[in-house]
Symmetry: C2
Subunit: 124 residues, 2 copies
DNA sequence: CTCTATCTACTAGCGTTGTAGTAGATGATA
DNA sequence: TATCATCTACTACAACGCTAGTAGATAGAG
């Protein structure tokens, strides 16, 4: 299955993934951009229509929760990038990731650790 | 800078990255989906308008080449995924990749080396 | 020189995205 | 109870994306 969120939808999903669930007001609060309340509501409603989130009543408000898991969305997005940008080579993608100038030293060190673990756990 | 290709644009860019440069007919040939000639032309023209490709004349045809490098597009796309889907954690993304696609030990070692170099070159 | 294939330029229509306003319901407050 | 704040539903509308058609230029075939 081929999930594809728009920019704004992804912003909203990101909030929901981090918060587990949220009302419109809560989502709005946590978004970086300052959008109108109704705008956020509209985005949530279209996400619901597409089957990516669901809501349950909470007083007069609605509480939204994601139906799509973070990992599934990640897999889908990554596959696309690997295919189209990195010509089907995940290694190329990782190389890119590692040479990204925006990564902090701390992040790089953690990556190194992860790799080391991965290698160790394969050796035997 | 924040590059953002649409799905179809990305398909076309992918062809250009792989071929170095191509005419409309060549791009059309290499696309997975069977689009009308004019459709492909339109996509190329909008890409040009956005400054992502350029063309030079070749007989009565135009030859298009990418102005945006693969790596730049990759960086941009990855940033976005790391931020929004993997909550700013590149190692989470990496874990996903490593477990999803089966990388060889050799590939992992090369990555480790690359990582070490990157870290060394930052220290000073 | 005429016909045909091929190419670009321009135009178009429909669906989606992004943003938000207005209307009406309802819970809280004075 | 009258008013205010807040919430959803519905509507709007411009910009963009995706697809492709038509018109007109031109190179090559005969």
């Amino acid at each position: 299955m081929h999930i594809n969120f728009t920019d704004r939808e992804l912003d909203v999903m990101s909030v929901l993934w981090n918060a587990q669930s949220a009302t419109v007001a809560e989502v709005r609060e946590r978004l970086a951009d300052d959008l109108a309340y109704t705008t956020v509501l509209t985005v949530l409603r279209t996400l619901e229509q597409k089957g990516h989130v669901a809501h349950t009543g909470e007083g007069r408000a609605h509480r939204y929760r994601p139906l799509v898991k973070r990992a599934a969305a990640g897999r889908s997005a990554l596959r696309r990038i690997v295919d189209k940008v990195f010509d089907g080579s995940p290694e190329l993608l990782m190389t890119q990731l590692v040479s990204d100038k925006n990564l902090t030293d701390e992040e790089l060190r953690r990556l190194r650790k992860l790799l080391a673990e991965r290698l160790r756990e394969r050796k035997p």
